[in-house]
Symmetry: C2
Subunit: 735 residues, 2 copies
C-alpha cells in the first residue's frame, strides 16, 4: 500500500518513507500469518484487526517502549493499554446491496502475540494457542486481563482503557513531581494507549480525553487504529466528525500516519515525537487496513467472508510461506525480538542503580518511595482517625471529612478527587494542593480564574462533571502499581450509576479505590427523584468484590473508612447522608467491620418480639421505633447493618447470634430503598419500591411513611397478622 | 455589560446592538428580582444562574418559540429542554486565597417562572412560591419533571437532557419525513436545549452531540449558558478545551453571542439563524454573567456570598424597585407576555385546520398519523407474532428477531436501534431502512462507504458505540408524544450498565422504551468476565417501573415481547442468550405475562420434595436437574420465573399456589447471577457470587458447576442437610 505522505485532508502525514529491512518485512508477514492461524484453529476466524495493527506493534515493542519482559512489574516501565480489545463479536453484516466483512475482534491476540515474541515467560506458544479453548488456566482470555504479565489493565468494555491510561499518566506525573530530584528521574515512564473507532465514540473516553488535554499530560500517547470499520459497517454509518480537529480542540497534539500497515519507521517517528512532546498529550491517527493483504483487505464494499482455511492458505502463498505449516515462528522472527529481554534487564538494573544512589542522596523521600512501591501505608495511619466525635447531629458526609481529612492530609498514598462537588462531599483536606499541570519553564502552572491553583505534586483532583471518567481514571491510578496509590473519588451516590461500569472494572481487577458517595437517601430532599437513590444499592450489594457501606453516624463512618482502607484488593463505596444524623451512643466502629452487629438487646431473659434492622442514614429510626414499640409493651432488639458483604464474611455462629432468626424472632429492616436482597436477613421491610419525590428531607421521609409512629403501627399490624396467618410467616412482606 | 461584537477569539459575535425597549428592560429586571425573591423565601438563595439566563428566556418564550400555553400538549409545538437543571447544590467554595461564590442551582426556577409568565394555567404564582416548600402537590420540584405542563422531559442528571433533545429532534425528522406532503408540513417543530458547562463535560452528552452532528439534525439548537462557573470554582479548573472548535469538528454550526445578559435581540437573531439552518444542528455560545447586577456579579474572584436579604434589597434598589415588596409582577410585565396564550391558540387552530385539510387530501397517511398521535397500535399487532417456533435449539436473541422483526417491519411506531451490534442482536428487520440524514436538494442522502444508506423516514438507527446516548436519545424519542413512538434499543446486556442512568430516567418518566439485551449469561462465553453479567440483573429487578424479563426459549420470548409492548407506561429489558437454547414443550407465552408459572408439576398426590426455579437461558437446566433428581426418587416441581416484577403484580393466591413454599417445600433457584433478591422466592440458590471467566460457553457453565449432575448432587446434599439442621431451613443458602 503506497503512501503519498499526505493525509486525506491534505496535511503532511508522518512518514519516513524509509524502506523496511528484509527482517522487518518478514516479521510483519509472519505476525499476520500467525494471527490468522491462531484464529483459524477454532474456526472463528476474524483476524483482521490484529493483522492491520502489526506494524504498530513492531514499532512499539521493538523500537519505542521501555519495558522488561523478564521483570514484568518493573516499576518505571512504560505502560501499554489495549483499549480496542474487542471480543469475538460475529461481525458479518449483510444487506441486499452489500455484504460487508466487518471488524473483527481478536484484537487481544495482537497483544498476546507480542508478549510471546518479546519474551514474557508465562506467555508460551502453547498458551497462545489456548486462545478460545476450554483450557481453564489459559492466559489468553477474550479480553486482556490485568493478572497476565505484560497486561496493565483489564479492558473490554470500550472506552475504559482510554480513561485508565489517563489515570496511569496522572500516576506517573504525580510520582515524578513528588519524588524526582534533579538528575534523579526515578519515575519517567510513558503511557501508550491503543484505541479503535469505538473507543472514540464512548462517553467515558470522551470525558477522559477532554480532561487529559486540560491536564496537559504530555506523557500520554493515544494511538488510533483508524480502519474506519465497526460491527455495523463503515464508521461513516454513525460518525462523520473530524476527529483530528476534535482532538486539537481538546488540547491534544495530533500526528497523522498514512500507511499504518507497513510504514514501521513512520510510526516509530510519530511515537518518538509524541514521547518528546513537552506540552500536550498526543493523538496519533494511524490509517490501517483491516485484514491487510488478505482476500478482503481494504475493500470497502466487498463480498466479505471471514478468513477461512482457503484464505489463510492464500495469504501464506502470497507471502511465500508454506501453506501446510501452522504456527510457524521462524529463526528470523526469533532473532528479531531476542535482544528485548536483555535490553529490558539493562533498564531494570540501571533503574535499580539510580534508585540506590537516590536513596543515599535523598534518604527521606527515598524511604517514602520504598514504602509506596511496596504498597504499604505508614504503620500508624489509623491513629489519625479521631477517637471521638462531636455529639451534635452531624451529616455522615461531614463525618467522612472528619475521619478521612486528617489521613488524606498526611498520607500521600491517597489521591483524592471529586466530580465537581467539593463543597458537598467534604473531601477537601486542610492544605490540599490541586493536581494541575505544571510544566514549569515552558508552561507556567495553570492560573485559574477562580484562583485555586496547583501542580503535578498535588493530590486533589477536580475531575469536572465527569463521574464515569473519574472512576475509570482512578482505576488507572490504582493500577500503576499495587497499592502505591489509593484513589478516592467523590460525588452524590446517585451519580455512581453514571460511574458504575468503572466501579465494576475496579472490583473485577481487585483495585483498591474508595468511592465516597454522599446524598444517599430520600433524606437528601429537594433534588427529587432523579437524585434520590432507590435501587442503586441493590446493584452494589450484589457486585462481587465490592464493599458497599452505609454508616449510621460518625462513629460508624470511622468504621467504614477503616474497612475501606484495610481492603487492599477491594474497592469500597462509603455511602453517606446529606443531612445531619443524631450521634448514637451504641454505635461501634468495630461493629462496622463485621458488617452488622447488635445495637440494642432486649433486657431480661424473655424472647424478643421483633428484631429491627437499621441502616445508614436511617439507623436512628430503628432505635426510635424500638422505643415506641417498648412503650406498647413490645420487646424489640435493634441491629445496625451497614454492610452486607462484610457480614457475609463472618462465621455462621456470629451471623446466627446476631440475627437470631432461628429463634423465630421476625426481623424487619428499615431502609427507604428497594428491599431486594434484604429478604436474606429480614422477614419484612419498611422500604420503597417506587421512585422518590421532590420534597425537603424531613417532608420526604414523612411523605413515604418513615415517621416513628407510622412505622411502629405498621410493625404492630404486621406482627399481629403474622400470628393469625401462618403462611405470611414464610413470605417476605413490604410494610 | 458592553459588547464589542466580537468573541474572545476575535470572531464576530451575533449582536444586533439594538437597544432594549423600556418594557424589555423592565421585564428582565423584574424577572431577576422575582427569582431572587423566590430563592430568598427559603433562605437558601443562589439565584445566580437563573438571573443570568433571563434574556435568553425572553428571547425564547417571547420572540422565538412556537408553543401554546393553553394547549400544552399541542403536537407540533417546539420543545424546550432545560438540561442544566442543577439542584440546590451548596456551592460555596472556600480556599485560603479566595472565596468563590459558585453556581448555583435553581436553574429550574428559570423555566418555572417563564411558564408562569407566559400563561401556563397550572403554574400559578402560588405554585411558583411552593419551590422548596413541603407542599406535596407542588409543581416546582428541584428539577423539571415531565408531568408538569410545559416541561418536556425530566432532567437533573447532567447530560441526559442533551441526548433527550437529540431524540426529540429525531422524532420530528422521522414524523416529518413519513407524513409531511408538499404544502402540508404537519410536523415542523424545532428543538431547543439549554445547557451549562457541566452538560458539555458529561459523556452521554458528548456521545449525543457527535451523533447529532452526524445526522445533520438542523432542527436542533443547543444554547450554551456560558458563565464559566461550576461548583468547584471556575470552569478552567477542569476544562480548558476550545468548545466552539470541538462543536464544529462534530458537525455543528456555531454562533457566538457576546452579551447574553442584556442583548435580547442579539440572542433572538442567533436563535432565528439557528432555526433557519438547513444543514447542521446549531450551537449558540452565549456568554452570561452569573448573578448579573447583584453584589457578586461577574467578579471572577470575589468574596462571594449568597444573596441574602440585604443583597436582594440592594438589587431591588439598584433596579428602582421597592425593596419592601416581594413577588411583584407589574402590569407592564403581565402585558408583555399577555399575547402569548392567544398567539399559541392561533398556532393550534391553524395546525388543526392544516391537519384537517391533510386528512382530506391524504386520507391514508392521515389515518395512520391520527393513530400515532393517539398513541395507538394497529389492533392486530400481536397477530404478527408467530404462533409457533422451530423446534431446533435457538438462541433467544435469534428468537427475539423471529418475534419482533415482523412487527417492526409493519408497524411504524417502532424506531429500532443498536449500539453497533446489528449482526449480534437480530433486530434488523427485513427491508429495514436506516435513519440517516436526507436534506434532499441541498444535501443528498448520506452515501456511506459500506453502502448501507438511508433517509429520515428510516426506522433503524445505527447509534454507533454509544450505549448511554442510545438509551437517552430513545427516551427523547418516546417523550415526543405519549406512545407515538416506541423506541427499541439493543446491545449486549452487560453494556446496559453503561446505559443504566438513561434506562432509569425512562422508568422514572414512564416512557415506553424496549431494551433488547443479548449475551445475558456466562453462557456467552469467551468474552470473559468483563462481558459476563453477574450482578446487573439485581439492579434492574430492583429498579421501579421497569420490567426485566429473561425468557427461556422462543415461546417465552414471544411472551416477553407481548409484555413489553403492552406496558404503555413502563420500559422493559428483554434479556436474551447469545447461545442456542433447547425449545421446551412446557413453556407458555401467557405464563411470561404472569412473571412466573409452573412448568412441571409432580405427578400424583404426594407432596413434592423440592421446587426448582429456572430462569431464562438456564431454564432448561432446571428441567434436566428435575429429571436427574427423579431418577434418584426425589420429586421436583419446576417453575419458570422470567420476570419478578410481573410476578409481584399477581394476586396473592396465584403467587402462593405457584411457589407453594407455605407447604414447606424448599425452593431452589438456578441462575448464574448474584442471587440477591431471589431470597424472596427461594430457600437456596445455585448461583454466582464472583465474576465470570473467559471460557467457551459450555466450558464456562462447567467451570462454575452448572452441570446437571453437579447441580443435582448439590441439591440432594442441601435437602439432606436441611433435614438435619433445622436452623438451616430459616436461612438462605448458596449451594
Amino acid at each position: 500500500m503506497a503512501t503519498n505522505g499526505y493525509t486525506p485532508e491534505g496535511k503532511p502525514a508522518m512518514s519516513t518513507m524509509q524502506p523496511l529491512t528484509n527482517d522487518e518485512d518478514h516479521v510483519l508477514k509472519s505476525f499476520r500469518v500467525l494471527i490468522a492461524d491462531l484464529c483459524q484453529q477454532f474456526n472463528g476466524g476474524h483476524p483482521g484487526g490484529a493483522m492491520g495493527m502489526a506494524a504498530i506493534g513492531v514499532a512499539l515493542w521493538k523500537y519505542v517502549m521501555q519495558y522488561a519482559p523478564h521483570t514484568p512489574d518493573f516499576f518505571n516501565r512504560d505502560r501499554f493499554i489495549l483499549s480496542n480489545g474487542k471480543g469475538q463479536r460475529q461481525c458479518l453484516y449483510q444487506t441486499s446491496s452489500a455484504d460487508w466483512a466487518s471488524k473483527l475482534g481478536h484484537t487481544c491476540l495482537f497483544q498476546y502475540t507480542f508478549l510471546h515474541l518479546t519474551g514474557y515467560k508465562a506467555m508460551t506458544l502453547d498458551q497462545l494457542k489456548s486462545y478460545h479453548s476450554d483450557r481453564t488456566d489459559a492466559l489468553c482470555p477474550g479480553h486482556p486481563e490485568i493478572e497476565i504479565e505484560g497486561v496493565e489493565v483489564t479492558t473490554g468494555p470500550l472506552g475504559q482503557g482510554v480513561a485508565n491510561a489517563v489515570g496511569l499518566a496522572i500516576a506517573t506525573k504525580n510520582l515524578a513531581a513528588t519524588f524526582n530530584r534533579p538528575g534523579y528521574e526515578i519515575v519517567s515512564n510513558h503511557i501508550w494507549c491503543m484505541v479503535g473507532d469505538a473507543c472514540l465514540q464512548e462517553g467515558v473516553a470522551l470525558e477522559a480525553i477532554s480532561f487529559a488535554g486540560h491536564l496537559r499530560l504530555n506523557n500520554l500517547t493515544v494511538i488510533y487504529d483508524n480502519n474506519q470499520i465497526t460491527c455495523d459497517g463503515s464508521v461513516d454509518l454513525t460518525n462523520t466528525e473530524d476527529i483530528n480537529a476534535k482532538m486539537r480542540a481538546c488540547g491534544w497534539d495530533v500526528i497523522d500516519v498514512q500507511d499504518g500497515c507497513y510504514d514501521i519507521h513512520g510510526i516509530v517517528a510519530a511515537l518518538k515525537q509524541a514521547k518528546e512532546s513537552t506540552q500536550k498529550p498526543t493523538f496519533i491517527n494511524v490509517r490501517t487496513v483491516i485484514g491487510v493483504d488478505s482476500a478482503v483487505a481494504g475493500q470497502a464494499v466487498a463480498h466479505g467472508v471471514a478468513l477461512g482455511t482457503n484464505n489463510v492458505a492464500e495469504l501464506k502463498k502470497e507471502y511465500g510461506f508454506n501453506p501446510e505449516e501452522k504456527f510457524v515462528i521462524t529463526p528470523t522472527v526469533r532473532r528479531f525480538f531476542e535482544d528485548i529481554p536483555a535490553r529490558g534487564q539493562t533498564l531494570v538494573n540501571s533503574w535499580n542503580d539510580l534508585v540506590e544512589r537516590y536513596s543515599k542522596e535523598f534518604p527521606e523521600p527515598a524511604a517514602e518511595f520504598q514504602m509506596r512501591t511496596k504498597g504499604e501505608l505508614p504503620a500508624d495511619w489509623n491513629k489519625l482517625i479521631p477517637k471521638e466525635f462531636p455529639s451534635k447531629p452531624t451529616a455522615s458526609r461531614a463525618a467522612s471529612g472528619l475521619v478521612f481529612n486528617p489521613i488524606a492530609e498526611k498520607v500521600k498514598t491517597f489521591m483524592v478527587g471529586t466530580a465537581d462537588l467539593s463543597p458537598s462531599v467534604n473531601m477537601a483536606y486542610p492544605g490540599k494542593v490541586d493536581f494541575q499541570n505544571s510544566l514549569t519553564v515552558i508552561q507556567p502552572d495553570l492560573r485559574t480564574t477562580c484562583g485555586i491553583n496547583g501542580n503535578y505534586s498535588g493530590r486533589y483532583i477536580h475531575y469536572g462533571v465527569r463521574e464515569h471518567a473519574m472512576c475509570a481514571i482512578s482505576n488507572g491510578i490504582a493500577a500503576f502499581a499495587p497499592n502505591t496509590f489509593i484513589p478516592v473519588t467523590s460525588s452524590f451516590f446517585m451519580f455512581y450509576l453514571y460511574a458504575a461500569p468503572a466501579v465494576r472494572m475496579g472490583a473485577l481487577q481487585e483495585l483498591q479505590v474508595i468511592h465516597t458517595a454522599t446524598h444517599d437517601s430520600i433524606g437528601m430532599g429537594e433534588d427529587g427523584p432523579t437524585h434520590q437513590p432507590i435501587e442503586l444499592a441493590a446493584l452494589y450489594r450484589a457486585m462481587p468484590n465490592l464493599l458497599y457501606i452505609r454508616p449510621g453516624d460518625s462513629e460508624e463512618t470511622a468504621g467504614a473508612w477503616i474497612a475501606a482502607i484495610e481492603a487492599k484488593k477491594t474497592p469500597s463505596i462509603i455511602s453517606t447522608s446529606r443531612h445531619a444524623l443524631p450521634q448514637l451512643t451504641q454505635t461501634k466502629r468495630e461493629g462496622v467491620l463485621r458488617g452488622a452487629y447488635v445495637l440494642e438487646e432486649t433486657e431480661g431473659s424473655g424472647r424478643a418480639d421483633v428484631t429491627l434492622i437499621g441502616v445508614g442514614a436511617e439507623l436512628s429510626f430503628a432505635l426510635e421505633v424500638a422505643k415506641e414499640l417498648k412503650s406498647k409493651d413490645l420487646r424489640a432488639r435493634v441491629l445496625s447493618f451497614p454492610c452486607q458483604r462484610l457480614f457475609e464474611k463472618q462465621p455462621v455462629s456470629y451471623k446466627r447470634e446476631t440475627l437470631q432468626r432461628y429463634k423465630g424472632i421476625p426481623a424487619i429492616v428499615i431502609e427507604p430503598y428497594a428491599p431486594n436482597g434484604w429478604e436474606r436477613y429480614a422477614d419484612a421491610a419498611i422500604c420503597l419500591t417506587r421512585f422518590g419525590h421532590s420534597l425537603p428531607g424531613k417532608a420526604a421521609y414523612k411523605y413515604f411513611g418513615f415517621e416513628t409512629g407510622k412505622m411502629a403501627e405498621k410493625i404492630l399490624k404486621y406482627l399481629s397478622e403474622v400470628k393469625q396467618d401462618e403462611i405470611l410467616r414464610s413470605e417476605f412482606v413490604e410494610l
